[in-house]
């Protein structure tokens, strides 16, 4: 069972090129690129392959697809200009840019922006989603396939603090999770036509967590939706609920599906769940692993989480027991990502701290991004790290 599940997960990843980082937390939503070896240290004159200005703000992450980097931005005094920018990954040259006029609400906390949600790609198109609940499907050559305004459709959908849930690809649909005090729902939107395949009501509470995808050996795909009242598994094909795990869950970090098909849920600290197609069972809970806004990382039977105080914890994935902790500098909105055996953590002040993982955590190096603040989670592709601020996008790679 375990082996076949790993096979399914592997196939789902191989739809995209091996070096792609196609959405929030990369392929499979795990924040892991074990084959990559980005530089562990950089400065303005070392290991910065390129740095390019962006046309607008956004805590969304860049994604990498087929040698191209895609990043979303929002601009204008009212943050109502929505950008999708496509750059050549090798050179940083802009290949094309598309803009849209926001149709939904564009208010957000000053630290955030309307381009808060990370786009996702299925290798054919990029699905750019924004806090205004505008969703654009743009093919890799820049041709718009379709555009939806989900607040235009459901006028009470929105949160004036800002929304940030990133979409995921699940089977034939792109899934959006729009949870707020007004029109609160999750929906599966046809990748080909932009039509609504399914839409299900959700809690009337603010939530910023992103969906996660759990493929099954049967070929069915479960979409995992985390909200304050718990974790729900729904069928990607029709939105039917398969299971619900009631718990007080975090509203910002995203659940993670591990390479062997377990779920790391942000409840009571971190809870590891073992799913079947129709239910989940608790494997362990650890309130010492208490992620702040950043999502946890699972790798080689270890779980890593950084809390609001900037303490990085490593726990045994078999039982949740903490093995070591390491205090880092600053607070973290960006989730940690793993390349090779190093964890890259970028704090709000834009200080990147690289931790070598092992029996203990060792701080290898720290580097900055020219003093700019960083909220977006880095992307990893090949031996490069891609990081964006409100003003710039960097490619960190050995020269």
């Amino acid at each position: 069972m375990k082996r076949s599940l790993i096979g399914i997960l592997g196939v789902s990843i191989l739809i995209l090129a091996g070096a792609d980082w196609p959405g929030f937390l990369g392929a499979g939503g795990r924040g892991v690129a074990t084959e990559s070896q980005p530089p562990t240290q950089w400065s303005s004159d070392a290991n910065v392959a390129w740095k390019t200005p962006l046309p607008g703000r956004g805590p969304s992450s860049p994604i990498v697809v087929d040698g191209r980097v895609f990043v979303t931005c929002s601009a204008g005094p009212n943050q109502d200009r929505l950008h999708v920018v496509c750059l050549d990954a090798q050179s940083g040259t802009q290949l094309w840019q598309r803009q849209f006029w926001a149709t939904g609400r564009t208010y957000s906390h000053p630290t955030s922006a309307v381009a808060a949600n990370t786009p996702v790609s299925d290798g054919e198109a990029v699905y750019a989603f924004y806090s205004s609940n505008d969703l654009a499907c743009v093919e890799l050559d820049g041709t718009l396939r379709w555009f939806r305004g989900l607040t235009h459709d459901y006028p009470k959908a929105g949160n004036d603090v800002g929304m940030s849930s990133s979409p995921v690809i699940a089977g034939d649909v792109v899934v959006v999770q729009i949870e707020n005090q007004g029109d609160s729902f999750a929906a599966g939107i046809s990748r080909q036509t932009g039509e609504t395949v399914w839409r299900i009501p959700r809690d009337f509470r603010a939530n910023w967590s992103s969906p996660a995808v759990l493929p099954h050996p049967s070929g069915r795909v479960t979409v995992i939706l985390q909200s304050p009242s718990g974790l729900t598994g729904v069928d990607a094909a029709d939105g039917e609920q398969r299971w619900h795990y009631a718990a007080d869950c975090g509203t910002i970090p995203t659940p993670v599906v591990t390479a062997d098909g377990m779920i790391l849920c942000n409840a009571n600290g971190v809870t590891m769940l073992k799913p079947t197609e129709s239910d989940v069972e608790v494997v362990w809970q650890s309130n010492r692993l208490n992620p702040g806004p950043a999502s946890p990382v699972y790798h080689q039977d270890q779980v890593y989480a950084v809390n609001r105080a900037g303490v990085l914890s490593c726990a045994d994935a078999a039982n949740g027991e903490t093995k070591w902790q390491l205090r880092l500098k600053g607070t973290f909105w960006a989730s940690p990502v793993l390349a090779g055996s190093n964890l890259f953590l970028v704090n709000h002040d834009g200080l990147a701290q690289v931790v070598k993982l092992g029996e203990s955590g060792e701080l290898l190096a720290s580097s900055e991004f020219d003093g700019e603040k960083i909220l977006g989670t880095p992307a990893i592709s090949g031996d490069a790290l891609y990081v964006r601020s409100d003003e710039h996008l960097w490619k960190i790679a050995a020269e």
């Binding site: 005094p77 803009q99 006029w101 208010y107 820049g142 379709w146 603090v161 707020n180 005090q181 007004g182």
Partner: protein, 389 residues
């Protein structure tokens, strides 16, 4: 010779037919895209049309821009993307944009305001002198983006005049910028500059914020259950009424805020209450029947009625507060109109969840103030020019 003429005629006819067919086809593609509706309606046909429209020749650029006239927010974005694809392919191949045609499109106020702005941006990409050459004329434009740029230039000019010691000219320029400004930051900037130069500015009237209210409360909103309870003011506003409130009888109190952004702090008007509802009432005198926008900024759950008709209900607590956060259209009748607000506070205990307040204004679709004819403040609506199409 005859053969050459015949061949030329046939070729010419074929070219004309082809061009005509292309025009008709582009029009059809635009129409198909404009059929896109809410919730994915019309998408199947529109996806195919979009693919084709994105590949038409730049000769059809103005057609696609013109197609935005009457398009809704959704299809306007589809057409914008087609414009960008057409332009991108054309310019990457070394082609020049039809700047003269775009300028003619830009100055034609019958065209869609967003499309005109896009046309300007295309012109600017080909000719950076376009800003100084074209933008100043748009200081009262229905395109708020063009207007904002024009106001920015006017503010820049005024600041330069002030630096040069040309005070009187600077005042004229700042006043011109203020009169054109609909953007909050620009209004604030112009007002501060004018005050620095010793001028009086009525910011509240510029926005159309209502500063005089009758307030009643608290009514019960324990467990946020009062939002849909119709307390007496929802049935009838009687300013001398005594009504059962949450903690005993309540009555209407006249309340004036001196905040120039119209902020009414209900914890000052009624004291601090949790799980409570306040009603705010005002009469608005209109010179003639007209459509207006009622714009509310409020961090609490709220409802707005105009002349007894519920226009909007927003059951949202402590998720930010901004000027013009909730916008709803309403029809004023000639003479007195009754505006009633319901502002609901919940019982959250966090420090950031204690605010109980609102700011409210009446304006047109461009954000130009519409003032009650009995407004006691010394400003009049004649300052404000409504954009014309």
């Amino acid at each position: 010779m005859f053969r050459i003429l015949l061949t030329s005629s046939v070729l010419g006819l074929t070219w004309c037919q082809s061009a005509f067919a292309a025009d008709a086809q582009v029009e059809s593609l635009i129409q198909t895209i404009c059929q896109v509706g809410p919730k994915g309606a019309g998408h199947v046909a529109a996806v195919e049309a979009q693919r084709e429209l994105s590949r038409v020749d730049v000769a059809h650029l103005i057609d696609v821009l013109t197609g935005m006239r009457g398009a809704d927010k959704l299809s306007r974005n589809w057409l914008r993307a087609a414009v960008e694809s057409i332009v991108s392919r054309h310019t990457q191949a070394g082609g020049q944009l039809p700047v003269q045609e775009l300028e003619a499109f830009l100055v034609d106020l019958d065209n869609d305001a967003h499309a005109r702005r896009l046309a300007y941006e295309l012109i600017y990409s080909a000719d950076p002198t376009a800003e100084a050459r074209l933008i100043p004329q748009f200081i009262n434009d229905p395109s708020l983006e063009l207007r904002r740029d024009a106001v920015r230039l006017a503010l820049d000019e005024a600041e330069q005049l002030e630096k040069q010691g040309l005070r009187d000219k600077a005042i004229v320029s700042f006043r011109r910028a203020l009169n054109g400004a609909r953007d909050e930051a620009q209004i604030k900037s112009a007002a501060e500059s004018l005050r620095r130069l010793g001028q009086k500015v009525d910011v509240a009237s510029h926005f159309g914020f209502i500063q005089q209210w009758h307030i009643a409360g608290p009514f019960d909103n324990t467990d946020t259950q009062g939002f849909d309870v119709a307390y007496p003011p929802e049935d009838k506003v009687q300013l001398d009424a005594v009504m059962p409130g949450k903690n005993g009888d309540v009555s209407w109190k006249h309340y004036t805020t001196d905040d120039e952004y119209g902020l009414v702090d209900l914890t000052k008007a009624l004291d601090k209450h949790k799980g409570a509802i306040a009603y705010a009432f005002t009469e608005f005198v209109a010179a003639e029947p007209r459509q207006v926008e009622l714009r509310l900024g409020c961090i609490n759950a709220n409802k707005i009625w105009l002349n007894g008709k519920l226009l909007t209900a927003n059951n949202v607590y402590h998720a930010g507060s901004y000027i013009d956060q909730y916008v709803t259209a309403g029809q004023l009748q000639k003479g007195k109109n009754q505006i009633l607000l319901k502002i609901a506070q919940n019982e959250q205990e966090e420090p950031w969840a204690q605010r109980w307040e609102f700011q409210f204004r009446v304006c047109d679709e461009f954000g130009t103030a519409v003032l009650s004819q009995d407004r006691p403040l010394a400003q009049t609506a004649r300052l404000f020019r409504t954009p014309t199409r």
